[in-house]
């Protein structure tokens, strides 16, 4: 299994592009128990989760799983199908992907909690049409060494061989990532006066 990357290389600040090779995981409805089985949630830090990503699927394929293949080590982009990340809300799933090295995900659709968890880590989740995702996966499986360049502003994926895929990235997340404000904590803390007023207006906060 691959060693987890060091924390110093985790997403930080404004994010406008992601570059690198891509791992393809095919199949709809891949749940977060698959991405990181529950036994690895017995921890009080996220350190080391990168080594456990897709642990059971990888064990089953004994070295042939995309996350184990030599030519895909160091990849930064994950390309998936529909409803990726469904099920449990565990942030351990995107944490494990990020600690393995993933910095962007492209898929036909994502489960909402997973999508938000990725955004909170600075990992954009791009969507694309069914046909585009299938053609992208086909191209990447045929030629796994392709260096890709994902632009957040244009929502495009450009392969080193010249092919271009048009993707979509929701404008809110795109702005948050581009401005470096994808980590919401400071924004939420900035409105504390309004928050106190909202709370005071709620009957269940003030004894009805």
């Amino acid at each position: 299994m691959t060693a987890a990357m060091t924390t110093s290389s985790f997403p930080f600040g404004p994010i406008s592009a992601v570059r690198g090779r891509a791992v393809v995981i095919t199949g709809d409805d891949i749940d977060t128990d698959r991405i990181i089985p529950a036994r690895f949630l017995k921890c009080v830090t996220f350190d080391g989760l990168g080594e456990q990503v897709f642990a059971d699927d990888r064990a089953e394929l004994s070295g042939e799983h995309p996350f184990d293949r030599a030519e895909l080590q160091g990849a930064t982009v994950l390309v998936v199908n529909r409803n990726f990340g469904c099920g449990s809300s565990r942030e351990h799933a995107p944490q494990a992907l990020m600690r393995w090295g993933i910095r962007a995900v492209v898929g036909e659709s994502f489960a909402e909690i997973f999508y938000g968890n990725c955004l909170a880590l600075g990992i954009p989740c791009f969507t694309a049409s069914h046909a585009s995702v299938l053609s992208l996966q086909e191209s990447l499986i045929a030629d796994p060494g392709q260096e890709l360049s994902l632009s957040l502003a244009k929502a495009t994926l450009e392969a080193s061989r010249g092919q271009l895929w048009q993707l979509e990235l929701q404008s809110g997340p795109q702005q948050m990532l581009a401005s470096g404000q994808w980590d919401a904590t400071s924004q939420l803390l900035a409105n504390d006066g309004e928050l106190a007023r909202t709370a005071a207006s709620l009957p269940y906060i003030n004894g009805f």
């Binding site: 409805d29 128990d33 830090t45 803390l189």
Partner: protein, 471 residues
Amino acid sequence: MSAGTLYDKVWDLHRVAQLPGGSTQLFIGLHLIHEVTSPQAFAALKDLGLPVRLPERTVATVDHIVPTTSQARPFADPLAEEMLATLERNCSDYGIPLHGLGSGRQGIVHVIAPELGLTQPGMTVACGDSHTSTHGAFGAIAFGIGTSQVRDVLASQSLSMGKLKVRRIWVEGQLQPGVYAKDLVLHIIRVLGVKGGVGYAYEFAGPAIDALTMEERMTLCNMAIEGGARCGYVNPDAVTFAYLQGRPYAPKAQAWERAVAWWRGLASGADAVFDDEVRFDAAAIAPTVTWGITPGQGIGVDETVPTLEQTEPDERPLAQEAYRYMDLQPGTPIAGTAVDVCFIGSCTNGRLSDLQAAAAVAKGRHVAPGIKAFVVPGSEQVAAAAEAEGLDQVFREAGFEWREPGCSMCLAMNPDRLEGRQISASSSNRNFKGRQGSATGRTLLMSPAMVAAAAIAGKVCDVRQMINTTP
């Protein structure tokens, strides 16, 4: 766009500000925390040097990692012990109430918050657990969040959120004997799919929903997330108020009257506008069992495992993966499928009425030879209430083990798990590959009464045949 729904009203009441990027800052009225998804959030809070904004709106318990045989400390598993010790330290450091083991109030977070009266209509409820949708049963807007968001709620008592669309799921008729809220929700997910609810809140309404008890409504809303809907809810009504009255955290005296008046006004109005509506007939639903590897792969107990031809083209690869993993043959009846382990419990079906329904089947009968069957109450209060009416004795005499409260084999973060290729009949919520602790273990989801019936028969069988005959 929806208007005038409970979701719209609660959303508007909790809006704090518009954030750069277009999302809404939403005030969170109740933040539930547990040992699995909070330690990293507290660590981040410490790194930022921030206090917990409203510790009095934050409540903790321990559920996922607790053993259900002996809960003596320290736990045999040092990692589990470390997680609980970390939660205890964090709650103590930040002044957060912790309903711990032996307090009389410990249990699965989605069982204890309702039974303590913490969950109330019109609240926003967040918890680092996807089954937080359970609390929508009270007419709350309740949803699961990740650990970074747990940090945000701890720090600011709010979240950055986008507004969902609202789909009304209108259910006519009434459930037939032997058919439960679990069957209803498995049926809804079967029809609408596991991704049908993505982008939606589900409002469950109609005569069949009005007739459900609060515990049944909790089962229904609990599994909204399995249909892709991050939250599901039922409008508050007399059933809701009767359940809440007198509970420890429910409003008292004059405040109670004012609360009920406010709660009534939150329900979706007759002129509410929904983004979508789907209709079901409760009377047409049979006891439902999953045969595959997603909660959407369910069928009536009297049906056969669907063939590829009976499966929508875009669902066929998943069906093929499920046939292989489950080792079930398309076209064969699900009834008669032999099981190894029978689990009654979880945040879906670990409440008193669930145990009563299962005990009614178990009473006077016995678990089939070679079957491991166990019952895990959802909380210390559920355990005490069940024991007070002798349900523990009914189960023990029938050959079931009676355990201590916790999440148990729903997700196998504790000693309860499948081994090898064992197949379980389970009253929990997920039949994902490996979910119950073995990478090759298999799960058949069904109601608690159906699990009890499977334990007695040693195989999947129609509980309606058992409740219509005396043992």
